[in-house]
Amino acid sequence: MVALRHAILVLALSMVCGIPRVLRADEDLGARWGTAEEEAKYYPIVSIPIPSGIPLRPGGLEILPDGRLAVGTRRGDIYFIRGAFDSPPRPEYHLFASGQDEIFSLSWRDGALTATTWSEVTRISDEDGDGVADRYDTLTSSWGYAEYHEFAFASKHDPAGNLWVALGLSSSYESHNLFRGWAVKVTPDGRMIPVCSGLRSPGGVGTNAQGAMFVIESQGPWNGCCSLKHLKEGAFLGHPASYNWYPYAPGLKAPELEPNSDSRMGVEKRRVRELVPPAVKFPYIRMGRSISGFRVDTTGGKFGPFAGQLFLGDYSLSLVLRATLEQVNGVWQGACYPFREGLATGIMNVEFSPKGQLIAGGFTTSRQWPVRGTEPFALQRIDWNGVVPFEVREISIRKDGFVVSFTQPVDPAVAARTNTYQVTTFTHVYHAGYGSPEVDQTTAKIVRAVPAADGLSVRLHLDRVIEDHVHEFDLGGITSPEGKHLLHAKAYYTVNEIPPE
């Protein structure tokens, strides 16, 4: 039974993480970026030791008001760790709660930790003050959970005290139980309010710097690659298997149309009014293959020059990605960038420490499930050592092109040459089949490149910007005035809308 369950979990994870079901242990995980050694000069990885008796397979991460790190585990334990952020780390583990189902998310509010597991959202507190939880109040368990793939990932509390929970489908293709494939909002008094349909197999929920709520989605049917999707209330997010629960969602009306298969997102979003296209698409393998938990950098610069941006873990490739978002014509869109590879295990979640370190934790499930990191489980930290890397900071869209900003000044002469840049575009087939090849490729012509006076950005004028296309930037030709190359040369901008001006 245990073995069977194990196998099933492997299968289940393969669903949530958005990769084909049949995998080989030695399957090629795709080429590395090859930048780990250079990244380490700015962002060293520090392992937080785990005593041998603690099966710390991290799922949920949270910072407590007293500065301790809370970790919710696969086994259903919650540990409070003091000293995790010291250099070197001197962790002391305290078992706060136990006996829960597998924990995927943790959030602290008003004297209690709220844990989200397969089956419910639970407010966990220590009433008698002995340091160990004694009240486990179920806020909601009103979603269906009766199959092995039905994961549940939650956000932190929003300003109103709600948790946003994303519920994976029953399988890649189907929704058998109530609200599978939906995002729901759980209020502080335990009401569950359905918000969006159309999810496939989400892996994390969180806000951006402006407080808009997003979910990370997996590659699979109706999803050509992993993507960050905006949880716009009332939206349909692309996978129609969950249409069947509209009759159970008071106040929400089912879309009149279903998307056509073998189409394009740009076509279907005009047909199906409720369809909200992914804000950031992560080209498969090149930019992760099973993206998991993410957090916005609210450290105010303690983590380096990317304040306000999103940092996302990847399970299969044991790395952390970076993303930026902007709203154009009322629709969120943005870009993703390589950030840090070479973590020790499959990353399930990330969290910022009060010192501005990025905590990354996770686990591997078995040898059948390919993960680049080799540790069965690990808790690590990415520290910024104060040295600013030469990186693309952000790409932002304009009517006829983009503004690419950098963390350090570029050589204006190099940056002014149009042949310094290569911009190609592609999109995905929007269809019921699994994943998608990259199609409709074009090569953009750089009409003009105008560096700013401070050298920290370049305005690129293209012959055209193509809606519904990912614009792939190769900035390998950019150099600093000292001739230094960018730490990462690639970036990918998803164009949903083109600004009028």
Binding site: V2, R5, P55, G99, W118, T122, D134
Partner: protein, 910 residues
């Protein structure tokens, strides 16, 4: 036939020649082990340092002298009984039996079975042996059938034979099963000539049925392991067949040679039809090997439709398609010009990918395209004879029966109800005559060595009533049962140097202690009487990390050791201080065991929970097994008892490094440890105990776990210190299961109840308003997605009380429910659950029913007590229940709740 006639040959000529040949071979370095010998081998004797007279006494007992030569005293009960023969025909090959009877020492050198036909002339030996065969085989049911050995099981059996301990008494073998004979090995010989699989498996599992004296111990083998060892020992059995096959499982798309692909079983199959192998699971590969007969020479084409396959004929590759798990089957073919006659054929077939299927056809001159018929296949190009069941001739059997008595066979094999032969009393024997002489005659011939004859001659005068003191009596038993093959006992013997490496274990970090069975030196002063009895007589196994089993020899045979060890082994008294504040002592003991003290749990398991990688003995069993005196002596100086022990001495010079506990005094700290550990399974968990075990155990506070389980996907299991447990379905707010004993196995996101005495409750909600008396009780149907919320149910979590018992919280419509279970132990009775349901209801709630239990047999003794199959249910509040008959029947409690709080209490006993 003249069974009682005088001997015709003056003996031992052939035996001498054989012995001589062996010595020559040894001298030439052809054999590196002690020579083949016809002398009876009693394994323990060779290795022991016993005095010659006691050795003689053991020989007298092991050879069963008393079966012919009666003696007073306890000799008869101490002596080894010969194998039981009543169903011999079911387990022994007729040809082997005949040969063995004709010449037991040639057939199985070293056997303790005497040659009873040696004195017959050549003309009489054969017919006498034949007649005896017919008689002995007349008892069976004719079941004996040699079967094809499984080469995969045999490879596993090879490891088991050497790892479990078989090869400590029997000769080690090479991977092909060839025996390395030795003077200290109980002889087995080529077992494939003697046994069939079924017979050997049955014998390995229940050796004492056939050999009641326990010299061949019961290794308590699981059926599968007994089968593997039997396949190993019988791997040379040859039976005719069409094709050999080996079945592989794993990621077979990587090919049979992949490290991850494992052979699962092997055997014979009648053809290439997949159905001949029964159910073949996805991700399986089959390797077929055999011979193909070509009748008409010429071009032959082989058509395959497979996901992947490799066909070779006479070692030449004819067709190949690499398997893939990402596509379906494909067609391929190969062709060759073949001569008439037998050709070696090998086909690897891969059952993987999408909708796997298998088709393999041949096409050739005068052979239309078709699957290869079984008639063209064989595992060998040489004929293999078919086993023909033995036909007992009653006239011969009658003569055999007569000879069985007259020759003296019946004296030892006394289960066939044949009158024994008479012989002089033991006390009157002359050691220079009869079976003890080197002469041949109408007596059993043992081929004793000169040394063995001398030992027996020394022991003979006192064999009936030997005057052995306890120590010698103990040593004699340890040698007779060859305990010293696996255990060291100072002054007596121990593990043979050339067999030491055969002992293996799963915890290499424990060093030799992790692979060698523990020494027996002073074991009677170490273990309690119960501790010895548990291991020796009740099959208890403390050291799960040893590959060797502690075999069982039978209480009748070794039961006397329990007291004898205690009487013989003594140690000086350790200074043991009296601790008066027991709670403080336990608390100190707990701290010493935990990670902030001596960190015993860094190596030792505690109540089945393993903290470090080492996995040393479980501390929570210590005080039941060990004598307190030894515990004190051992902890002060571990190396005194185990020279290679890994455990450090924590109290050098009688002082502890932990001076804050009990003044750092060695005796007081050790006594505190003992006092704490005396609580056994109920001892509070020490600090720092690992949570890595998949078994969740309950100690002095309740444990809880949640997840996918037999109580639903939203199951909650609660384990209570009184060793009774429950599983609650928080999806439907219903009690689903009760059980006793061990709690649960857990995995990430799931649990599985363990234990015994399970009571299950069927799916469905607990409270409902039945529309009519015969309306069905609602449960979740496939399409009822909103169930049970549509019946007003909401789960609200649970709170833990000071004892960490949960109160489950839920709502049924406007009614708030608090549901609390308490484990209660009745005075002198078993533990039971007291359940308290507290309702908080607004005014005007319509009545509803509470379905408490469901069963096949439901009986009410009155309105408050119900028997539901094995469950006894009592209502202890003012409520009354009713039985709703049906299949199954239900116990319903009608509830009309008052406004505000009200309470219903129940007791569950089973």
């Amino acid at each position: 036939m003249k069974p009682t006639s005088a001997p015709s040959l003056s003996l031992t000529g052939w035996a001498r020649i054989r012995r001589g040949l062996a010595w020559i071979a040894l001298g030439l370095g052809l054999i590196t082990v002690p020579a083949l010998t016809a002398s009876p081998i009693v394994s323990g004797l060779v290795r022991s340092s016993l005095d010659p007279e006691t050795k003689g006494l053991i020989l007298i007992e092991e050879l069963g002298c008393v079966s012919c030569h009666s003696a007073g005293g306890t000799l008869a009960s101490r002596s080894k009984k010969a194998p039981r023969l009543s169903d011999l025909g079911d387990r022994v090959h007729p040809a082997f039996l005949l040969q063995f009877l004709r010449d037991p020492h040639e057939t199985q050198p070293g056997t303790t079975m005497p040659d009873l036909l040696a004195h017959l002339d050549a003309g009489d030996r054969e017919p006498t042996a034949t007649a005896l065969s017919h008689f002995l085989l007349s008892g069976g049911s004719g079941r004996f059938t040699p079967g094809a050995p499984d080469a995969v099981a045999a490879r596993q059996g090879f490891r088991l034979f050497h790892g479990r301990g078989c090869a400590q008494c029997h000769a080690p073998r090479d991977e092909q099963g060839r025996e390395r004979p030795g003077a200290d090995s109980a002889p087995l010989g080529a077992l494939e000539r003697k046994y069939d699989l079924q017979g050997l498996i049955a014998f390995l599992q229940h050796p004492h049925t056939i050999r009641p004296s326990g010299r061949m111990p019961d290794l308590r083998l699981q059926a599968r392991d007994a089968e593997r060892i039997a396949h190993f020992l019988l791997q040379d059995t040859r039976v005719p067949g069409a094709l050999g096959y080996t079945r592989y499982r794993g990621p077979v798309w990587e090919g049979i040679g992949s490290d991850e692909v494992t052979a699962e079983r092997a055997g014979l199959v009648r053809d290439f039809n997949l159905q001949s192998l029964g159910d073949v699971h996805h991700h399986t590969a089959i390797r077929y090997e055999g011979r193909l007969r070509i009748n008409d020479p010429g071009r032959h084409t082989f058509h395959l439709r497979v996901n992947g396959g490799l066909l070779e004929l006479d070692g030449k590759r004819l067709a190949q398609l690499d398997p893939s798990d990402r596509r379906g089957v494909e067609s391929l073919e190969g062709a060759a010009d073949l001569d008439a006659g037998w050709h070696r054929i090998r086909l690897d077939y891969y059952h993987t990918g999408e909708e796997p299927s298998f088709s393999f056809e041949i096409e050739g001159p005068h052979l239309k395209r078709q699957p290869i018929p079984a008639s063209l296949l064989s595992i060998s190009d040489q004929p293999i004879p078919v086993f023909v069941p033995f036909q007992v001739e009653s006239a011969l059997a009658a003569r055999g029966r007569e000879a069985f008595g007259a020759l003296g066979c019946a004296n030892c094999h006394d289960d066939l109800k044949v009158s024994p032969r008479t012989a002089p009393e033991l006390a009157k024997l002359n050691p220079d005559r009869g079976c003890l002489s080197t002469n041949a005659g109408a007596w059993p011939r043992f081929d004793l060595s000169e040394q063995q004859r001398n030992w027996i001659a020394m022991a003979l005068p006192h064999a009936g009533q030997p005057s052995l003191n306890d120590a010698l009596q103990l040593d004699k038993t340890l040698v007779t049962f060859n305990c010293i093959a696996c255990h060291e006992r100072t002054g007596l013997g121990g593990i043979a140097a050339d067999r030491n490496a055969l002992f293996t274990g799963s915890q290499p970090a424990l060093g030799d202690q992790g692979r060698l069975p523990p020494p027996l030196t002073q074991v009677g002063a170490k273990l309690t009487r119960e501790g010895i009895a548990d291991v020796l007589l009740h099959g208890h196994r403390e050291r799960g990390y040893l590959d060797a089993s502690m075999p069982q020899f039978g209480e009748a045979n070794v039961g006397h050791l329990v007291d004898l060890l205690g009487a013989v082994d003594t140690l000086e008294a350790a200074p043991i201080p009296a601790l008066t504040d027991i709670p403080a002592a336990k608390s100190a003991g707990r701290e010493l065991v935990g990670s902030s003290g001596l960190a015993c749990i860094a190596c030792h398991e505690f109540h089945g929970q393993k903290s470090g990688e080492v996995g040393a003995l479980d501390l929570s069993h210590v005080t039941g097994r060990l004598r307190k005196n030894w515990f004190h002596l051992y902890l002060r100086q571990p190396a005194r008892f185990h020279p290679t022990v890994i455990m450090p001495a924590y109290w050098p010079d009688g002082r502890s490094g932990l001076t804050n506990l009990l003044g750092g005094d060695a005796g007081r700290q050790i006594e505190a440890l003992w006092t704490y550990l005396e609580d056994g399974d109920r001892a509070r968990n020490p600090t720092g105990l690992a949570r890595t075990s998949h078994e969740l155990r309950v100690s002095d506070t309740p444990e809880l776990c949640r997840g996918q389980s037999p109580a639903g996907y939203r199951g909650i299991a609660v384990g209570y210190p009184e060793r009774i447990h429950l599983a609650f379905d928080s999806g439907e707010m219903a009690l689903r299961r009760l059980w006793k004993g061990e709690f649960v196995s857990i995995d990430d996101g799931s649990f599985q109840p363990r234990g015994t005495d399970t009571i299950s409750f069927p799916p469905g909600i607990p409270f409902h308003r039945l529309a009519s008396p015969d309306a069905p009780w609602p449960y979740k149907g496939k399409s009822n997605h909103a169930f049970p919320q549509d019946h007003g149910y909401v789960f609200r979590g649970y709170h833990l009380d000071a004892m960490r018992r949960p109160t489950l919280l839920y709502r049924y419509g406007d009614i708030a429910v608090e549901d609390y279970f308490e484990d209660v132990r009745a005075p002198d009775g078993p533990a039971y659950f007291r359940r308290t349901l507290r309702f908080d209801a607004p005014a005007g709630q319509p009545a509803f029913q509470f379905r408490v239990a469901v069963g096949k047999q439901v009986r009410a003794t009155d309105g408050r007590e119900f028997i539901v199959d094995r469950l006894n249910l009592r209502i202890t509040s003012g409520h009354r229940g009713t039985v709703r008959t049906g299949d199954p029947g239900e116990v319903l409690i009608p509830l009309q709740l008052p406004e505000g709080r009200s309470t219903l209490t129940l007791e569950y006993r089973w």
